[in-house]
Amino acid sequence: MEAATYRDGVRAAVAIAATVWFFGASFGLVARAAGLGVLAPLVMSATTFAGSAQFAVVSILGTGGGAVAAIAAAVLLNARYVPISISVAPLFHGRRLRRLAEAQLIVDESWAISSRGHGRFDRGLLIGAGLALYVAWVGGTAVGVAGGEALGDPRALGLDGAFPALFLALLVPQLTDARARVAALLGGAIALALIPVTPAGVPIVAASAACLLGLWRRG
């Protein structure tokens, strides 16, 4: 398959970036409502750039939880970025600082969009989609902290149902052989079993154990 340009990546991410924008706005809104001010939520969106961890921080601090609990939840939620960043490592070259900066565009959605199957990923799609999503997330947060009550609740718009559907759409083309299908089923089952018994974030990280099926010889 031909390598994609950054522009292709932006184009591929437009629909999901619109959804991410709404969630950024609602993050800004709830962070402001939780008394976290205007600047801190913006700095967080610009540096952390990971929705679930940021929402967890706001909900813990907003309900009287301490810094340690908030940090622990966010670290667990974002631990999945270690295996995720390993999977796309070959796409990054040049000086260390450049690799460090570009790697910040890795987020679930950009990573998923850039996946070409069989462990291959496309740099143009990853960077282009990551840029579009970054602008949407930080821009949405800015609108939210500035008072985005008029936008409506993303849940009322059903946007929380859009993310799993996106991941499903990107999963299906990956299920090209028996090994990938079994590993995906096992990973999903591990996550499902752990949701009620572990803190959020752990089910996804633990599911990566299913990758060990890669050691199973091809038939």
């Binding site: 700095v43 908030a70 996946s115 718009l157 089910p203």
Partner: protein, 101 residues
């Protein structure tokens, strides 16, 4: 202020997590068996994300309108609808089911 401490620590840790692969591994290729394991990360983590985003809740399974949304998304995928159509079908279905339930 607590929020600044949390924002700083979480920001730095996340930056390090995201850069871990590109900085530590860089262009080096992984030995065969490790590459075989890493190749399965995409299907496995995507499946885990589908599950946690569909029925994940505050330390419990939550069956709500998202399930209908994912069902609509699956139907759209089955008829080979383009990605934006899948996303829109899922959002609209989730919103409608939530509105009428």
């Amino acid at each position: 202020m607590t929020i600044w401490l949390v924002a700083l620590v979480v920001g730095v840790v996340t930056v390090v997590f995201k850069a871990a692969g590109p900085l530590v591994l860089g262009q080096r290729s992984l030995p065969g068996p490790v590459a075989d394991v890493v190749a399965l990360l995409a299907p496995v983590l995507l499946a885990a994300l589908v599950v946690t985003q569909t029925v994940g809740g505050d330390n419990r399974l939550v069956l709500d309108a998202r399930l209908a949304g994912v069902g609509a998304g699956a139907a759209a995928i089955a008829v080979r609808a383009p990605l934006p159509a899948v996303v829109v079908a899922a959002a609209v279905t989730t919103a409608l089911v939530r509105l009428f339930s």
